[in-house]
């Protein structure tokens, strides 16, 4: 998204000459059509969430509804402990986002502002760590959590997610930390700032847009996760998260489509909001601080 905004700032001169007008109109029509197709599943999700039961389970589905209702949402929110699930999801996501952003900031600073032995090795290891199939580690993590008595607690979701979002966050933040000119660091020290002061009062605010960008990704992967929630929260469902609340409505033989669509809508909206909020933040951040 960052890139998009950068690109749009710099108007590209049209390569085409005037003779190509019809071609461009066709391309634009195609683009609009594709946009409609791509957006259709989301439209259908929200629409179905508001449809009355009779219209959802109809063999003549219509792309509109004349009798919107909140029945499906009532079923979702009326579910036992739904608020609890939502809160759990928020707690886990926020904890992961904050913790991984801070830890990654320190680590990214270490690997970009210092030269030391094993630096390259470490970087390669961070890269390799990104490729580890998280799902395969569910088995050993299950035993680790069991041995530490953390099954059925939110820690069993928070800790692994911090670990899995770190390598990517470090890798990504590197670019942002690197882009802060070294002259600034020198100036700060000359003015008598301590290392800690430079780190938290100068570097941190400058890198914040990058941190926000990183947080989108750790937020999404944590918010969406249902494998850990399914595997580690086995008996105490009051510690469960949103995806599990959604799956309650989804019984393969006879799914409650209205409930599924309403729960999906509830689950998707925070992510969309986060995307939009962060995008604005990113644009201003990249436009200002990081440019040198």
């Amino acid at each position: 998204m960052t890139i998009v905004s950068q690109g749009q700032g710099r108007r590209v001169k049209p390569v085409r000459r005037f003779g190509r007008r019809p071609g461009r109109l066709a391309a634009e029509a195609a683009a609009l059509l594709i946009a409609a197709v791509v957006a259709f599943p989301l439209y259908w999700m929200v629409l179905s969430a508001f449809k009355p039961a009779g219209e959802i389970e109809s063999t003549e589905p219509r792309p509109w509804t004349l009798a919107p209702t909140l029945d499906s949402f009532r079923r979702v929110f009326g579910q036992q402990d739904f608020g609890r699930y939502f809160l759990n999801s928020v707690v886990v996501a926020v904890a992961v986002v904050v913790a991984s952003a801070l830890i990654a900031f320190l680590a990214a600073t270490a690997v970009t502002r210092f030269r030391f032995r094993m630096r390259t090795t470490l970087l390669i290891m961070f890269l390799v760590a990104q490729m580890v199939p998280v799902e395969a580690l569910t088995i050993p993590l299950f035993f680790v959590m069991r041995d530490f008595g953390q099954l059925n607690t939110l820690w069993s979701l928070i800790l692994p997610h911090i670990a899995f979002s770190l390598p990517f966050a470090i890798w990504m933040l590197r670019g942002f930390v690197k882009a802060v000119p070294e002259a600034l660091e020198e100036a700060a020290y000359i003015d008598g700032a301590s290392r800690a002061r430079f780190l938290w009062q100068i570097l941190f605010p400058l890198v914040l847009p990058g941190l926000v960008a990183t947080s989108v990704f750790s937020f999404i992967s944590t918010w969406n996760d249902f494998l850990f929630a399914k595997s580690f929260i086995i008996s105490d469902i009051s510690q469960s998260t949103l995806p599990m609340a959604l799956l309650v409505f989804y019984k393969p033989d006879d799914p409650d489509w209205g409930g599924v669509m309403a729960a999906s809508t509830v689950m998707t909206i925070p992510v969309l909001v986060f995307f939009v909020l962060v995008q604005r933040r990113l644009v201003s951040g990249l436009g200002g601080a990081v440019k040198d």
């Binding site: 998204m1 890139i3 998009v4 634009e28 195609a30 683009a31 594709i34 946009a35 791509v38 599943p41 989301l42 179905s48 389970e57 109809s58 063999t59 589905p61 830890i103 990654a104 320190l106 680590a107 690997v111 210092f114 030269r115 030391f116 470490l122 390669i124 890269l127 760590a129 580890v132 998280v134 799902e135 580690l137 569910t138 088995i139 050993p140 670990a163 899995f164 770190l166 390598p167 990517f168 990504m172 670019g175 882009a179 070294e182 020290y189 990183t214 992967s221 969406n224 249902f226 494998l227 595997s231 959604l246 799914p255 489509w257 599924v260 669509m261 992510v271 986060f274 990081v290 040198d292």
Partner: protein, 329 residues
């Protein structure tokens, strides 16, 4: 997920361009190095790295080690509950796995499915990226917003929505296509195809946005010159854009390979845990089912190790390509 990495790459390249070819790896002349002895003791970077290393060591490296260990033992429900002692099996689990026809079938399905996903995602993403460059702001914004929406949709909600769209009884797709009550989840290829559609839907935006940004960074003079020389659209893409975008295409391809090889949620939700008689299993779901559904933890762990090794091989190829492009770490 890596867009920002790419933006990082672009950003860095831009910055480096502005500074001229600076190569901090070249030793003591880099200003960063000159600073260190003045202001920081040698241990400082390690102090900064400590939290990250502790977390990664405890929750990534140690579980990987455990995964390898479990795959060498006989480990089922009896051992988990402590009823029986664990016995060392050596490579016995792997031998059992490699003798199992279903494993090879699942491996083949995983590779073919991942390849199909990667190729479709790249084709759709690149085509739309090129399309984005030839249209005005309003349709471009529409397509971009739709793509961002698909991108932001959680895998699990995306899966249920697509399933509903293609539902045999109540889905709009069968009505529009006039397919009656054709079931998309019954046949093996139908089910894989449906999952593929969902995977492409939620992963093409990443490719599109990244490649679009890449095309934007190509100087327009180059494209103009090619157009003036009478090159066709396809020719411009193949002989001008693709070579210039190679670094970005490499990142996007490798990233897609890694994701699509690891697809879990979509298969698990859309085919209800691997399809009828496991016909839609991929390695990831297979390992999970072996471990948590049939309590054969050691077999599941062995499958996990196989996946890990395959992805490691992909990563090594990635690193080589990065190195060859002179991308400094």
């Amino acid at each position: 997920m890596t867009v920002p990495t790419d933006s990082g790459v672009l950003e860095r390249r831009r910055v480096r361009g502005a500074h001229g070819p600076s190569r901090p790896r070249g030793g003591g002349r880099a200003p960063g190095k000159a600073l260190r002895p003045l202001h920081a003791p040698a241990g400082t970077p390690w102090l900064y790295l400590a939290p990250a290393l502790v977390v990664l060591g405890g929750l990534l490296a140690y579980p990987i080690y455990q995964l390898g260990l479990i795959s060498l033992f006989h480990y089922t429900q009896a051992q988990v509950s402590g009823g029986e002692a664990t016995t060392f099996e050596g490579l016995g689990n792997y031998a059992e796995l490699f003798r199992d026809d279903q494993f090879w079938q699942v491996l083949l399905a995983t590779v073919v499915f991942a390849a199909a996903c990667v190729i479709s995602t790249l084709a759709v993403g690149c085509t739309l990226a090129v399309l984005l460059t030839r249209i005005r702001a309003v349709p471009r914004l529409a397509l971009m917003l739709a793509a961002l929406g698909a991108w932001a949709t959680p895998a699990i909600t995306g899966s249920t929505v697509w399933l509903f769209l293609f539902d045999a009884d109540f889905g709009p797709v069968n009505r529009v296509l006039g397919l009656g009550d054709h079931s998309w989840t019954y046949g093996r290829f139908n089910a894989f195809f449906l999952v593929l559609l969902e995977v492409v839907w939620c992963s093409f935006p990443f490719v599109m946005v990244t490649v679009y940004a890449g095309i934007r960074s190509v100087p327009s003079e180059v494209l103009e010159a090619a157009a003036l020389d009478g090159a066709s659209q396809w020719r411009i893409w193949r002989s001008v854009l693709a070579p210039m975008l190679r670094p970005i295409l490499v990142v996007v391809t490798i990233q897609s390979v890694i994701w699509d090889f690891k697809v879990f949620t979509q298969i698990y939700v859309m085919t209800n845990g691997g399809g009828i008689a496991g016909q839609n299993l991929v390695l990831n779901v297979y390992a999970y089912q072996k471990a948590f559904a049939s309590s054969q933890y050691s077999l599941g762990a062995a499958i996990g190790v196989v996946m890990l090794l395959i992805l490691l091989a992909v990563t090594l190829v990635y690193l080589r390509l990065l190195r060859r492009q002179g991308e400094e770490l």
